[in-house]
């Protein structure tokens, strides 16, 4: 269709609310090109642009408002959408077709209510006392943090999903925390009595007191603490701080005031197209009532947003909202809780149940099946969500249960059962975050994707919560095989082995040379030469295991040119030289030496992103002399040429900075000196920041460390470069020894299991189990590998020697640095010209 709208003919679309659902709607509108047809204005009452409320409690464990934001700060502006932050709509004037704020009146043609909900505060006398707070917005969290400053104890009123999230947040503020729930168990919506009891045990094991079946009668002055809560049985509980998190209520006052049709228990009534009783007004998210229900989860809110966009942009797909599944999979304070469909079995006449309870491992699983035992209608999990995906597939797709349905929840030595990918119908949802079906995966493969990474790139599957990674992988592998694509993981034609298999062979058999490896384990047709794929990979593995000098005669033919000459080849065949500058700290006299060497050998100098100095244009035959001078001045090789530890970038930290809470430079130097010389599947970069301002940009590094008042927070698997990825929080508030041990294990586990040339970010995305798996292995030592990984790291550290210092004292090794074996003159084809006062290739 052709758009003939002139600028003034655009309709005015106003969206009230800039929460997760309101923001999702804006994203969908932008994606559909709605700004061609509408002038879009969004009103948000908060200071912040839309942020991730699902992960709000991480605000206390290192994340700030910026990292929780759902988009870049200029996203709205860049896409032609007006965002009016901190402007609260006070009235809708339907007769005039205007919304009213304190600042003015704004005309609309179409209006969307995405005002969300507010926390319900039970009508308890004393609930308006100071330090009685709620948990919903970043400002609420700031208020909680402030109130917690002189508090030692905190109580959360409400033991549901949000209540436990709030309790986790209070724990994050180091308060002795208690949860008070009116119902006889925690999470009454999601779990039954037995599940609730198990959940209580697990939460109490974490040091959180759990009081259920308690109705608070009043809150008065305490004796030992600020508040005293008095319960129905006259028992009391004293605490310094109270957070109400006892459910939500729709923020429907604007709709009520302008007489839109309301639900019986509040909320704006909408139809399948998200239209209210006034067809120019739509409502989405937690303010909307559909079929007498309010959906208090983000997933259904997103579906409503998509339906609302379809209503505003009528096109070929008449997408409507038809209710949403409230199945959820959660990790609350590290405790798995899952709930699928009719988990209580009270909505399905004649439903039958299977239940499994293990009080030692603290696991509980329940299946609710149809009266004929053939279909799954609901399920409940406490303690281990690895059963969730398979159960969800049976439920979601109405698949017939196996002959022995109990096997789906019984423990087995092979781990949680998985559903064969071939059993899934085409319509099966694989990734619910991005709504990717099996048919979408197949389409991606038919369009040419030949591996998991390509399918993920095409469909976005498994790039949200990552919960479906294992399922996606099995579907992809199965579909590839079904199409006759042999999923060959061999590293190259010379070895019918993966990099991981080669690594294990080298470790187990103690093989120390390429020739021995290829003789014993090379592919049968191999002539023993290898190639430019397997040789550097094996060189890297040998170095990771034994750390012998890479310039030794048996290793030298394996190396890429950069490793061979321990410098970075540039496009004209000259090299760049980067001495190590640990943590980016360098003394004036060393800086002067770098300048003198650069001047003497006519090198172009540039400061790198990793806080060191790169000297470009070094001729091959000059490298040994250059390094002779650098080593004499106390420099070491910087491994800028290797797939190995590069730099540990740091901010200046508490030594100088007014805001620093730890010595980030000292830590960076310590870490750089510890891990220098570690060869790995790809390069590794670190960052250390001295406070949460994060000036070292540690969250864009493979390993990022951010100082806290209590120690160090450790982030892993970040990346800058082509595909930026924020590092994820692995562990918090660690002391130095614990942190170093954790990094030892993390790096060695990466070295051991990654593919060749796979950065930590891609490795993590392909790793089954994702970050949780990494945490299990390196923090909780679930595989019992901890000591082994640490001792392997220690071997690398103990065998460290500056490669340039080693080469320079060996005349045999230096022979390689002749440009020509029969002529000492330099290569005449290297021609330089001058630009901005330095030399560059002509």
């Amino acid at each position: 269709m052709t758009l003939s709208h002139s600028q003034d003919a655009k309709q005015k679309l106003i969206i009230i609310g800039n929460g997760m659902v309101g923001h999702h709607m804006v994203e969908q509108l932008i994606e559909r090109g709605a700004t061609e047809a509408y002038d879009i204005t969004v009103f948000g009452e908060e200071r912040h642009i839309a942020y991730d409320r699902v992960h709000l409690s991480e605000y206390f464990s290192g994340r700030d408002a910026e990292s929780l934001a759902l988009c870049a700060s200029d996203y709205y502006e860049t896409n032609g959408v007006t965002l009016r932050k901190q402007e609260c709509v006070t009235k809708i004037d339907r007769d005039a077709g205007e919304v009213v704020t304190e600042q003015g009146r704004y005309a609309y043609d179409r209006l969307v209510l995405a005002t969300g909900s507010y926390p319900f505060v039970p009508p308890i006398p004393g609930n308006d006392r100071a330090k009685c707070l709620v948990y919903r917005t970043l400002d609420d969290l700031d208020a909680i943090r402030e109130a917690a400053e002189d508090a030692t104890t905190g109580v959360v009123v409400g033991g549901g999903l949000l209540g436990l999230e709030a309790a986790n947040a209070l724990r994050g503020l180091n308060l002795d925390t208690a949860v008070v729930e009116f119902a006889p168990r925690l999470m009454p919506m999601q779990v039954d009595t037995e599940g609730g009891e198990l959940l209580r045990e697990k939460i109490e094991d974490l040091g959180v007191q759990v009081l259920t079946g308690r109705a608070t009668q009043e809150i008065v002055d305490g004796e030992a603490s600020f508040h005293r809560m008095v319960f129905q049985d006259e028992k009391v509980l004293e605490t310094d701080l109270i957070v109400f998190s006892a459910g939500i209520r729709p923020r429907d006052e604007l709709a009520r005031d302008c007489s839109l049709e309301m639900g019986e228990r509040g909320g704006v009534v909408v139809d399948d197209r998200c239209l209210t009783s006034d067809p120019s007004i739509l409502a989405i998210g937690e303010v909307a009532v559909w079929n007498n229900s309010i959906f208090g989860l983000v997933g259904p809110g997103y579906q409503m947003a998509k339906a609302a966009v379809a209503t505003l942009m009528p096109g070929e797909d008449a997408l409507t909202f038809s209710g949403a599944d409230m199945s959820t999979k959660l990790k609350l304070m590290g405790v798995d809780v899952g709930s699928i469909g009719d988990a209580h079995g009270d909505r399905t006449p004649g439903a039958k149940m299977f239940r499994y309870l293990d009080q030692i491992k603290q696991q509980y699983r329940k299946m609710v099946v149809s009266s004929d035992g053939k279909r799954l209608v609901g399920a409940m999990l406490v303690g281990d969500n690895s059963y969730y995906d398979t159960l969800m597939q049976y439920y979601d797709n109405g698949l017939e249960l196996p002959d022995d349905p109990a096997s789906l929840i019984l423990p087995s030595s092979e781990g949680a059962p998985t559903l064969g990918a071939d059993a899934l119908p085409e319509t099966a949802t694989i990734c619910s975050c991005h709504n990717v079906t099996k048919a979408d995966v197949c389409a991606s493969i038919d369009a040419g994707a030949t591996d998991l990474g390509a399918v993920k790139g095409d469909t976005k599957a498994s790039t949200g919560c990552g919960g479906c990674t294992a399922l996606l992988k099995s579907v992809v592998d199965h579909e590839l095989e079904a199409r006759g694509v042999e999923v060959d993981k061999s590293i190259c034609e010379h070895f019918a082995l993966t990099r991981q298999e080669i690594y294990d062979i080298v470790r187990v058999e103690g093989i120390k040379t390429f020739s021995e490896l290829i003789a014993k384990h090379g592919a049968s047709q191999s002539r023993g030469l290898g190639c430019d794929i397997c040789k550097p990979a094996v060189a890297s593995i040998l170095a990771s295991c034994f750390n012998e000098p890479i310039t030794d005669a048996s290793h030298i033919p394996l190396q890429d040119t950069n490793d061979t000459f321990m410098a970075n080849m540039q496009k004209n065949g000259t090299y760049s030289v980067v001495p190590r500058v640990p943590g980016g700290e360098i003394s004036p006299d060393k800086l002067i030496v770098l300048g003198q060497v650069a001047e003497k050998y006519k090198l172009y100098t540039k400061v790198t992103g990793g806080q060191r100095i790169d000297l470009f244009g070094a001729r091959l035959e000059d490298l040994p002399d250059i390094w002779g001078e650098l080593i004499a001045a106390g420099f070491e090789t910087g491994h800028a040429y290797g797939k190995s530890l590069r730099t540990v970038k740091s901010c200046v930290g508490s030594t100088w900075c007014r805001y620093g809470v730890q010595d980030s430079v000292g830590m960076a130097i310590k870490l750089e000196n510890r891990y220098k010389g570690l060869r790995s599947p790809h390069k590794i970069k670190f960052g250390v920041s001295g406070c949460t301002r994060e000036c070292a940009e540690a969250q864009s590094k493979d390993v990022g460390i951010i100082a806290t008042e209590n120690g160090w927070n450790l982030y892993v698997c970040g990346n800058g470069g082509m595909r930026p990825r924020h590092a994820e929080l692995l562990a918090t508030d660690m002391d130095e020894d614990t942190m170093i041990r954790t990094i030892d294990r993390f790096l060695m586990y990466y070295v051991r299991t990654a593919d060749r040339l796979q950065r930590t970010s891609v490795w993590r995305e392909n790793l089954e189990g994702g970050l949780d798996h990494i945490r299990d292995v390196v923090v909780d030592d679930s595989l019992g590998l901890g000591e082994e990984l640490e001792s392997q790291m220690q071997t690398v550290i103990d065998n460290y020697e500056c490669e340039w210092a080693n080469a320079i004292k060996d005349p045999e090794k230096l022979k390689r640095f002749r440009s020509f074996v029969n002529d000492a003159r330099p290569d005449p084809d290297i021609i330089m010209m001058s630009e901005r006062g330095q030399l560059r290739p002509a």
Binding site: E493, H494, Q525, R527, L529, G530, C531, D532, C534, K535, P536, A553, I556, P557, L558, Q559, D560, T561, T564, F565, M569, K571, N572, G573, K815, R816, R818, S819, F820, V821, N822, D823, D827, D829
Partner: protein, 126 residues
């Protein structure tokens, strides 16, 4: 295998043997660079040494036509389906050592020369 036995009948008058270096200058399973004199003038060659293989010595252009830098001797030696190749260290194209042809682009080829040992000396036939 190719010791100084395989003497070609030196019938052509311009066929001559230029000594370049000694065996000790070679790097096993890797390359070095040298200057040679040809009819068209001086040229840079890359010399590869594969001890124990049917043909132990190879010489191809040191000049990489894709990057226009003189770097071929610094590439990694390997084989593709049994044929010995060197990978350019800059943009990683592979050249067959036997005839200099490029695996990725059959319109491109390096020149090749014949090398042999005379005792400990390595020389080239030009």
């Amino acid at each position: 295998m190719s010791t100084a036995t395989a003497m070609k009948p030196e019938a052509e008058t311009d066929m001559s043997w230029q000594p370049l270096c000694t065996k000790a200058d070679l790097v096993e399973f890797s390359g070095i660079a040298a200057w040679i004199e040809t009819a068209e003038g001086p040229a840079q060659v890359a010399i590869f040494y594969l001890p124990g293989h049917d043909q132990e010595l190879y010489a191809v252009d040191h000049h990489d036509p894709f990057s226009n830098a003189n770097v071929v001797a610094r590439g990694i030696v390997g084989d593709i389906k049994g044929e010995p190749v060197v990978a350019s260290p800059i943009y990683k194209q592979h050249f067959r050592l036997k005839d200099g042809s490029c695996v990725e682009d059959d319109s491109v080829a390096l020149r090749t020369w014949k090398l042999s040992f005379k005792g400990d000396e390595v020389g080239i036939e030009v």
